[in-house]
Symmetry: C2
Subunit: 302 residues, 2 copies
């Protein structure tokens, strides 16, 4: 039993193209239609055979869909939804993959006041972007969070859950507000910190850019990976999850100030205690299959 038979993906970047590959791999009887606002992306998608069909207009993309998935930056969700409003079939279910949920749910609802909407967020990705960066297994053993509200029919949520499970994901339900706080801590603020330290290091007068690159294996390079993520996507996340991000940032600043003070005053015991408790978290992440067990993320050491 397929949860959906005619799936439309709006936005063919890393996540959209990975869903297309995943549907073809794990739900081969379903038909995938793709659309992207950028004609160059549509051309690439046609050339690599990403979907069964690439539509020329948003309306044509959804005309016979039973599932429409918006895979555009969160700041573009409202406009993308408005563009298909007239052509969306009454019985279609709408979902998305945006990294912030309260603002996206509101934007989709404004654009599609009568549609059945199940907002979602697969917690998965790489630092690469574009229609050629996707792959079918991106969501395997990752979590996908759905944030239905009180008006969302349970049957619709169940079908979207079945869709993500077919792609290999585990599904969890929570409120949009709770999602936004959890992700501010586990994704948004970590990305902001990574972008910041990469910028700080490259602005030093006494240390050259070449030195920062050469000696990056001491830790810095780990940060540059997520600091290479798509700037538009991340700008939108921060603008759309402002409150939670600012709250977590405030806590982070307090915590780093405490460690800074411990360094200044030579409080070795405080530092040692702070550095010890974090290992248990890493162990749990590896045990629960959310990261590679091999040292150094399993990087090859040739």
């Amino acid at each position: 039993m397929l949860p959906f038979a005619r799936i439309t993906i709006v936005g063919l970047g890393l996540i959209g193209s990975s869903i297309a590959h995943g549907v073809k791999a794990y739900m081969p009887a379903a038909r995938v239609t793709g659309y992207d606002a950028d004609p160059a992306v549509r051309d690439i998608a046609i050339r690599i055979g990403l979907c069964h069909d690439i539509a020329d207009t948003p309306g044509a993309a959804v005309i016979d869909a039973d599932l429409v998935i918006f895979c555009v930056p969160v700041g573009a969700m409202g406009a993308a939804a408005a563009a298909i409003a007239e052509d969306l079939p009454d019985d279609a279910i709408v979902t998305d993959v945006g990294g912030s949920k309260a603002s996206v749910a509101a934007a989709l609802r404004r654009a599609l006041p009568k549609a059945t909407i199940v907002p979602g967020h697969p917690v998965a990705g790489t630092e690469h972007c574009g229609p050629e960066s996707g792959f079918a297994s991106l969501f395997r053993n990752r979590w996908c969070i759905l944030t239905p509200d009180d008006d969302t029919p349970e049957a619709a949520t169940g079908r979207v859950r079945a869709f993500w499970e077919a792609l290999g994901a585990n599904v969890e339900l929570m409120s949009a507000e709770h999602h936004d706080l959890v992700l501010a801590a586990t994704s948004h603020v970590p990305h902001l910190i990574a972008y910041t330290i990469v910028g700080t290091a490259s602005d030093l007068e006494q240390v050259t850019r070449g030195e920062v690159i050469k000696y990056s294996a001491g830790g810095f390079r780990d940060f540059t990976r997520i600091a290479a993520s798509d700037p538009t996507m991340w700008r939108d996340v921060f603008l759309n999850n402002r409150k939670a991000v600012l709250e977590i940032l405030q806590r982070f600043t307090e915590d780093i100030t405490a460690l800074q003070r411990a360094i200044r005053w030579g409080k070795g015991d405080e530092l040692h205690a702070a550095f010890t408790r974090t290992r248990a978290i890493r162990r749990s992440i590896v045990e629960q299959g959310q990261d590679d067990a091999g040292p150094d993320f399993g990087r090859s050491h040739r």
Copy 2:
């Protein structure tokens, strides 16, 4: 031509045991003696055949060495050097692998006033520690920084350089003070930030530890790897490179405050500009072979 024929490694953790493996792999005619202050570590080293010989005392370890390498936390360098002072042959060269250089060079000089010392730091590692975590290729295509001072004989520096090159490393010379500033930016402050955010996320009242772990693939898990590094080693680095760490931290705090303000006031252009310039750094790091080119550090996506 071997740069050294009888090499003594004091401290058999990740770096010390990797040097032992590397010498056996790439300089098979050299003899490696190991010593560790912890008898349990010495027992493991004997059991796994890490070195040709494991000494029972620091003095016995160095008695016929032509190279002595200290691979202990930077706060323990002075005591480790004092423990071998009486038995160190006059013509032996002393080096180390400590992550801060000015304070280590001073501690080694105090303990060994007449020895030939070439302080060093291979910029390489994983989050694992202990005598069983080492491997021969850890230093291949990584940089090793040597910080000889005006009194260091050039011939001694040349032999230590040849040693690291035989292990596969590239070698660069610079002053201890410059090393400490470069590494504060590319390694020490990144580690402090990682330890901090992992702590911040696990202290949230509204978000459970389980949620932080489940949804870590959104970025957080990257930080937990380096936040799982050895607490004693890192406590010592921060206490011994205080000035440079505090200077870089101050700049980081200014930079993140500017981004925080941009988020609060909805300045999307500032965010987009900050997130765009960091990609070039990542590209250079990958081009120069300092990180995997594959997405997600080459993690497997099964």
